[in-house]
């Protein structure tokens, strides 16, 4: 039995989780969902390393308590080293290194993007390999071939706006509120997706994506005419994004013939995207539970488990890599000791 502590501080949220044997979540805490701010009696900026610093120790204590686990019961610590904000990443990496040094535990540095994929392993049955992974979030839109644990090939990525960013900005244009993803999804239910023909940038001959032109098209549509229904515009926009994502992923799947398609990242919680994948794909599609799509530390712990099982771990010189690309800056040393 192995218990891995996952730590994730790459962006806004501080997250700590304890995962048993790679797929059983014993505790999974995200600072924005936990009333931890109240203890400091003041408003703490949402996006700042200072906030991570204040939150991380109480969050760790609570995660251990909820998992009914003591520090000495841990088998390893997995932590996000990038990509993300330097100041924020440093908080998580410093905590993980301190714990590993003090408790003599293996340390595994995790690439945040790879971590997202592992939300699909937090269940009883594991996905089949090789698989094609679509990672869609506020900051990222990447299409990746996963051949094995730690063996990734980046096929395509966005050339301008990330997919979740387009949702956020269109929600702002239409005055639908924040966060933009759920706001668009709610509005789209009340609208007609065939109301407007919006540009589909499919970038033929490449697996890359582009969403900036679509955002600007919505801006001109909305600003150019009086009396439009925001619900119809939201529905048309969402249908266009979903069509681009599904079409491009299935095109790549046809070429590569993976055993499975995996979705990951915050936008993977979008109901319309999930339905369209299930409807159009002939290859089995693996959908992570919506609660594990957004940033969390369970996926980091899970990714750490499989890396350790494959004999990959980091040493205490692990450094942050704020601009890490996919499968970049892993810096593992081979080891024979897989798990404590």
């Amino acid at each position: 039995m192995t218990k891995i502590l996952g730590v994730e501080t790459s962006c806004d949220d501080t997250a700590v989780s304890i995962v048993e044997d790679g797929n059983r979540i014993l505790s999974n805490l995200v600072s924005s969902q936990v009333d931890i701010h109240a203890r400091y009696g003041g408003v703490i900026p949402e996006v700042a390393s200072r906030q991570h610093l204040l939150t991380i120790i109480p969050l760790l204590r609570q995660a251990l308590q909820e998992a009914n686990t003591d520090l000495k019961d841990l088998s390893a610590v997995a932590v996000t080293f990038g990509p993300g904000l330097a100041g924020s990443l440093l908080v998580g990496v410093s905590l993980a290194k301190s714990l590993c040094l003090a408790l003599d535990l293996p340390l595994v540095g995790i690439n945040h993007l790879e971590g997202h994929i592992y939300a699909n392993w937090l269940r009883e049955s594991s996905p089949l390999l090789p698989c094609l992974c679509l990672i869609v979030s506020g900051g990222h839109t990447e299409l990746v071939l996963m051949r094995g644990h730690g063996d990734f090939l980046l096929l395509g990525r966005t050339r301008d706006d990330a997919c979740g960013e387009a949702f956020d900005k269109v929600a702002r244009i239409l005055g639908l509120g924040y966060p933009g993803g759920p706001a668009i999804e709610r509005a789209a239910i009340r609208g007609d997706p065939s109301s407007f023909a919006l540009p589909h940038a499919l970038l033929r001959g490449s697996h890359d994506f582009s969403f900036s032109g679509l955002k600007t098209a919505v801006l001109h549509l909305w600003g150019g005419r009086e009396g439009l229904s925001p619900f119809d515009v939201a529905a048309s926009f969402q249908a266009t994004v979903v069509d681009i994502l599904v079409t491009k992923t299935l095109e790549a799947a046809k070429e590569i013939e993976p055993k499975q398609i995996l979705l990951a990242g915050g936008v993977a919680a979008n109901g319309s995207l999930r339905q369209e994948f299930m409807r159009r794909s002939k290859i089995p599609v693996c959908l992570p539970p919506p609660s594990l799509c957004t940033d969390n530390a369970a996926m980091i712990a899970c990714c750490g488990y499989f890396n350790l099982r494959e004999g990959r771990r980091s040493d205490l010189s692990l450094d942050i890599l704020p601009n890490a690309g996919f499968a970049e800056g892993v810096g593992f040393e081979p080891t024979t000791q897989l798990l404590k």
Binding site: P45, A48, S49, L85, G87, D160, T216, H220
Partner: protein, 138 residues
């Protein structure tokens, strides 16, 4: 325009981009990156806030879109500005106070679906020379 500006950029340059959604800030930043000698595409940093690049010079592509004025002060953007790199900052109006008084401000406005109006405000003699150089190259 962006490429020509990037080609003429020197270490420590601060280029502030201002303008609403769809004004073309990221598109102009992409050109500046190419001009500085960074290959490939420059995805929007709106969510990740800072992307670092290395061409002829280091370049920081910063985006304050998601931040409030207080958060901008808290996130340590100043650390990036003080380095010997080119800094391109989108939604610069959210952090006006943290930037050095000498900089190049480019305000962008949508004129129609296919045209944008760019207004250059060089602040300080260095940026005035940069503008004159850019102007004579057009």
């Amino acid at each position: 325009m962006g490429r020509k500006l990037g080609e003429r950029s020197s270490p420590g340059d601060i280029i502030l981009l201002s303008g609403g959604l769809g004004a073309g800030k990221t598109c102009l930043a992409q050109g500046i990156l190419w001009g500085v000698g960074v290959g490939g595409f420059a995805p929007s940093p709106s969510f990740v806030i800072i992307r670092e690049y290395r061409g002829r010079l280091p370049l920081y592509h910063i985006d304050l879109y998601r931040l409030s004025v207080e958060e901008v002060e808290d996130i340590g953007i100043e650390d990036y500005l003080s380095q010997d790199a080119v800094c391109v900052v989108e939604w610069a109006e959210r952090g006006e106070a943290i930037f050095p008084s000498h900089n190049l401000l480019i305000s962008m406005r949508i004129v129609s679906e296919t045209s944008r109006l760019l207004e250059f405000k060089p602040r300080g003699p260095h940026y005035l020379r940069l503008m004159q150089d850019l102007w004579s190259s057009l």
